[in-house]
């Protein structure tokens, strides 16, 4: 499938889920489906993005996301350059724009950008001529993660609309939570956020979610449990008192899963802290845990995003085949 298969027009950039229409999200998920078959076939490579250049510009370390984008771009035939800019060398914000302008002069077709500051990717997108895909910015958005989560859910449950989803843990610092809240709400799911009050952003309920401070009430009758990674440096002092206390009250285990709806799925964006936010017994439960499937869907979703943003425009050029 190419861009021509998309029944809706895509913006130049993918900076976040907020603002996308249900039709755009559905079209991206549909396109992603076709790439699952590609990825599962013996010959995975396509020439959709042949001659195109994709630069992965990562200001924050992330092997998983960066590799997923790299695999996706290469399977579409693009030339991929990985740039990891150590956070310590980017003390001044103008370095971000200097780097962007330099790369822009090399005429890439897409920049995949991860940055530790919210809004940094939006700022960068204003300064370059190519498509920009947000690979995660601060606590703001991580749109491809939300899309891959949605694809995973849709394949397992056959729909998104009407499902009851609990997003659990460190909501305050999570870009994954924000993108997922936007997407799930747009697609008609009901969303709960569950976690300690210290890790709950102000006025999160005004984003149309139910707020629970107890896993027992938060997980009751849910179809999907999305666990979030808790960074261990946040475990002491001001946010939560200790790892053991956090796991006791907010870590996911068999006992807490009992109140969920039968057939409830367990998700996690990875990498997991076993024994902190999730117990190994549920993380490795092949019946309910779709954590590895999420990783697989990630490549398909990123192929679809790259195709929709830069493959489609190539196809739209006069004289293109």
């Amino acid at each position: 499938m190419t861009m021509r298969s998309l029944s809706v027009s895509m913006p130049r950039d993918l900076l976040g889920i907020e603002g996308l229409s249900a039709a755009s999200i559905s079209a991206l998920l549909d396109l992603s489906e076709t790439y699952i078959d590609t990825n599962r076939s013996l010959v995975k490579r396509r020439d959709t993005l042949s001659g195109r250049t994709v630069i992965n510009l990562f200001f924050e370390a992330s092997t998983r996301t960066r590799t997923s984008f790299e695999v996706a771009a290469k399977r579409l035939g693009a030339d991929v350059i990985n740039m990891e800019v150590a956070a310590s060398s980017v003390k001044k914000g103008e370095t971000l724009l200097d780097t962007a302008m330099t790369l822009n002069a090399m005429l890439p077709d897409a920049l995949v950008v991860r940055h530790q500051d919210s809004g940094a990717v939006n700022l960068l997108a204003q300064k370059v001529n190519c498509s920009v895909i947000n690979g995660g910015d601060g606590s703001h958005e991580h749109p491809t993660q939300a899309l891959l989560d949605a694809l995973t859910i849709r394949r397992r449950k056959g729909k998104l609309e009407g499902l009851l989803v609990a997003i659990c843990g460190d909501i305050l610092h999570s870009r994954v939570a924000r993108s997922n809240i936007h997407l799930l709400k747009i697609m008609g799911a009901q969303v709960r956020v569950v976690g300690p009050a210290t890790l709950m952003p102000t006025d999160i309920d005004r984003m149309g979610v139910e707020v629970h401070y107890s896993m027992r009430t938060g997980l009751k009758d849910v179809d999907i449990v999305m666990m979030l990674r808790l960074q261990t440096e946040r475990m002491s002092g001001s946010f939560v008192p200790s790892v053991s206390e956090y796991f006791r009250f907010f870590g996911l285990d068999e006992e807490k899963m009992k109140v969920t709806r039968p057939g409830a799925l367990i998700m996690h964006p990875g990498p997991m802290n076993r024994g902190v936010e999730i117990d190994s017994a549920v993380a490795d439960d092949l019946q309910r845990s779709v954590i590895h499937e999420q990783v697989e869907m990630g490549v398909a979703v990123r192929m679809a995003c790259l195709d929709a943003l830069i493959g489609g425009r190539r196809n739209a050029l006069p004289g293109a085949a």
Partner: protein, 443 residues
């Protein structure tokens, strides 16, 4: 054009005279000479222009005391690429500001009497708007040790503050208020409880959506409540700057009702904008404290209107492009305000929320009285510091046309009404908008 730099009398006739002290807005005239106001009033020159005296026909436009701005950051010394005394003075004159108080958070900070004298010397050199300096409340603005409040007062500091850095220690604030009483010095604080005000924008739904750290509005309330308790204990003079929340307005209102020596100010961005102006990570709308919710904005309007908020300040803080064109959390806070202070303050008039004399009380008479400055009022013998303005003229704010060295305004492209036509300092014309106010008759 009449220009009384030689001290000869000048009659400003046919004016709509705004007298904040008398709370009047009526036709009248002003006579200046020797840099002072010699006479003024509704009946002055009612029979026509006096023979043989240089005359400015104000053509019915508003004539009022020049604005006294209590809160101006200059880049000088230390960050002259952002602003100098010269460019700040030009911007002030263009905005109708005839006196300004310069904050001490420069490099080096004004924590020594010699730096206060430096400001006075530079102000004399550039010969623009009158410039006064705050003294730093603590050495190096570190919030640890009191500066030489007595000596710095003697050198001419108008008040004491650590600029945008609130005094975290209650003990230090208590001692500052006690000690400053000896010199009748005013302590100025931006009330923000430091550990609650680390976020980049107002705490709430928008910050959550944008993934930005929130500065909770209670940071203002908590610090204000603490400081007011200390004022009550010490009997010191205290002025809270940049009130931004409904709670803050209410706390000051109650403190005043109890007879405490507490005053406060706010800046136009807190009554003309709300947090939505941050929009898509718009760093030009990043200020300290942050822009708040609409309910807070309305409360600030009410506070200015009923006099709970005593003064309106520009909070002029120039920032170069490199300080603003970065991710929101990393961007330096601040907006330039000298050239937008008058038109944005006039929105309160156009919206029917305040009369012109009342607005001018907040801009001139009250700040002048609180800081014991000579300007800011129509009074025989007072400095002839005046602004002639048209409150109705429509224009669109364009930072490219600013006199300020930088254009970091949150009001870019805002359609507005009201503009200074001419600014007079000690009887001398320091600004004239030639596009709006062509040369007039001088007898």
């Amino acid at each position: 054009m009449a220009n009384a730099s030689d001290g000869r009398p000048v009659a400003y006739i046919n004016a709509r005279l705004i007298d904040p002290s008398a709370d009047t807005d009526q036709r009248g005239a002003v006579l200046t000479g020797d840099g002072k106001i010699l006479d003024y009033g509704a009946n002055l020159f009612s029979g026509g222009a006096p023979y043989g005296i240089a005359t400015v026909d104000c053509r019915g436009h508003c004539l009022a005391p020049g604005i006294v701005d209590l809160r101006v950051h200059t880049g000088e010394p230390g960050e002259e690429h952002k602003e100098t005394f010269d460019t700040a003075g030009r911007a002030a004159a263009a905005g109708g500001v005839t006196s300004m108080c310069i904050l001490p958070d420069t490099e080096p900070p004004f924590d020594d009497a010699s730096l206060i004298e430096f400001v006075a010397r530079r102000a004399r050199q550039v010969q623009r708007t009158k410039m006064y300096a705050y003294g730093a409340l603590t050495l190096g603005l570190k919030g640890e040790q009191l500066s030489e409040i007595g000596l710095i007062s003697e050198a001419g500091a108008v008040a004491f503050t650590d600029g945008d850095r609130p005094i975290a220690s209650a003990q230090l604030m208590r001692r500052a208020l006690y000690y400053a009483k000896t010199f009748d010095a005013l302590i100025v604080q931006v009330p923000q409880e430091p550990s609650l005000s680390t976020g980049a924008m107002n705490s709430g739904e928008l910050a959550t959506r944008l993934g930005l750290g929130g500065n909770h509005k209670l940071a203002e309330a908590i610090q204000l409540e603490r400081d007011i308790r200390l004022v009550e204990m010490t009997g010191g003079r205290y002025h809270a700057s940049k009130i931004s929340t409904a709670e803050g307005v209410d706390i000051v209102r109650r403190a005043k009702a109890r007879g405490l020596k507490v005053t406060c100010d706010t800046a136009p961005h807190y009554f003309a904008l709300n947090e939505i102006a941050v929009g898509d990570y718009r760093t030009f709308a990043k200020v300290v404290p942050p822009l708040r919710a609409e309910s807070d904005r309305l409360a600030v309007v009410e506070g200015v209107s009923d006099g709970t908020i005593d003064c309106i300040v520009s909070d002029h803080r120039p920032q170069d492009v490199e300080s603003k064109r970065v991710p929101f959390a990393l961007a330096e806070p601040g907006v330039v305000g000298l050239e937008t202070l008058l038109p944005i303050a006039l929105e309160l008039y156009h919206n029917g929320q305040m009369t012109l004399p009342r607005i001018w009380q907040r801009l001139t008479t009250t700040p002048s009285r609180l800081f014991k400055l000579p300007g800011g009022r129509l009074e025989k013998g007072a400095p002839a510091d005046l602004v002639l303005f048209d409150p109705d003229i429509a224009w669109v704010i364009d930072p490219d046309k600013f006199e300020s060295k930088t254009g970091n305004t949150a009001f870019d492209e805002r359609p507005t009404q009201g503009r200074a036509l001419m600014t007079v300092l000690d009887g001398r014309v320091i600004h004239r908008d030639s596009s709006l106010w062509p040369e007039t008759v001088a007898a």
